[in-house]
Symmetry: C3
Subunit: 198 residues, 3 copies
């Protein structure tokens, strides 16, 4: 698989898991089916649209490709039928959120490099992409964002670490596919361990 | 009237009704006169600025034409003196919101076509324009956005239907003025019926 | 000192004081150290990024210069160690917020002129820059924004007055350094007086 294909796959999986976290949050808050779809879309697409608007890459791809719409919709539909199996909704929201965090801090950083930004900008945009959708989800659902909540100091740190690792590998000219996958998995595992340790 | 003039009129009426919904919400929440003006401006201009930033049409017209400032200010002033006549403030907020929803899903969709975007992008931007101001109003006033609230599943659906109808008519080359007006009226009436049926 | 140097100094002081207000708010809400850093960054950089995205100056300088990152981080660190000295945290948040309001309504207005916008656009962008970071801080911390809260009608008015004064001086060709400093000090003093009078 080429580097571009790997990034695309990570991005699409990220869309799916973030949309799932948004749909679960909507169910947890008692929203109806349209509220579930909206929150799934906002969570999945919010971080990337924020990144694209900041880079100046407008209109954002999320408004151009049907995939960006179809994947969150599929995730919302699956969540709607499967969620009764989830025992603890608010915990499950954070598990999917952790996966999205790992995937989007990688793809956000790489997208910044594609637009010829420097490594520091790339790291900042990677973090923005990773946390943006979740912050918009939490604000819309009137939850204190997981990003700043008292007992989740291990939220922004792993996202930043993932973005820095990807930027460093990019600058060092390392082959991106394995680095990108490893960084995404690392952030997810780190965040999951932090959540389970409590 | 030309198509452009019709769209302009719909846009200006939309500014007025959304500003009124924002001003009423501010009064309902006990904000003072400046808070009323700010929430009126944010509700009226928020969706359009969001749309313009996403399209890349910067700086947005809202920052260039005095009309965009004057109409919401007039709406805030009128609301300030007239509102004691309204019996149920939170319901009246939603009536004006419904009118703005209908008007802006039409004008937002058409503005996207003016910038040579495709029909799907146009529909998404129409919905974003229509719901954006109301979401910003609700978040700033610390209300759960009407867009996702449990008992308002008939909020996003009519806005989407209006945007799709306008986009389809545009693609089919139908004359826009009657279609635009009909779509705006349909969305408003549909939403109103849904609110009254409860 | 040249006009440009004065503006730069005002901007950097504004970053510092807004970051401090964000860090204090985070401490007041019981956020942990990462939450403090995030809220400091969001408050300091939010208004300027909003302004830059609206102007179309992307990517915003905040994503390009390390100073924009370093100053808020320094402010967060200082606040973290000094804050036990502050008697009334929520009042102190507003004092620093008032200083940022004064500084950013000036620099935001001037930045709009640099991008060849007209005086009305410049005033609107000055106000947006001044209030943007605080609104984002309050929404993220789940506080009703100081901008619209019932008893703070003297929030937006001084910011607007400062922006108008700077724009008028710019149009009249007055020397900017003294005007800029005077406007920033005036807004801060006015807001402080309003807060103390209560």
């Amino acid at each position: 698989m080429s580097a571009g294909a790997v990034v695309t796959v990570l991005e699409l999986v990220g869309l799916y898991v973030f949309a799932t976290s948004g749909a679960l949050m909507a169910i947890h808050k008692g929203f109806d089916v349209v509220g579930i779809v909206i929150l799934a879309l906002l969570t999945a697409l919010g971080g990337g649209i924020l990144r694209d608007v900041i880079i100046g890459d407008t209109p954002p791809p999320a408004f151009a490709h049907l995939t960006y719409l179809g994947i969150p919709l599929a995730a919302a539909a699956v969540t709607f039928f499967i969620h009764p199996l989830a025992q603890r909704l608010s915990f499950t929201v954070l598990v999917f959120d952790a996966a999205g965090l790992g995937l989007f801090c990688v793809t956000g950083t790489l997208k910044a490099f594609e637009h010829d930004l420097g490594p520091i900008q790339a790291v900042l945009l990677g973090i923005t992409t990773a946390v943006g959708g979740g912050v918009l989800r939490d604000i819309t659902a009137r939850e204190t964002p997981a990003l700043v909540k008292a007992d989740t100091h291990l939220y922004a740190i792993p996202a930043a670490a993932g973005a820095v690792a990807v930027a460093a590998a990019h600058e060092a000219g390392l082959p991106m596919p394995p680095v990108a996958v490893a960084a995404a998995v690392f952030v997810f595992a780190f965040r999951l361990a932090a959540m389970l340790r409590k």
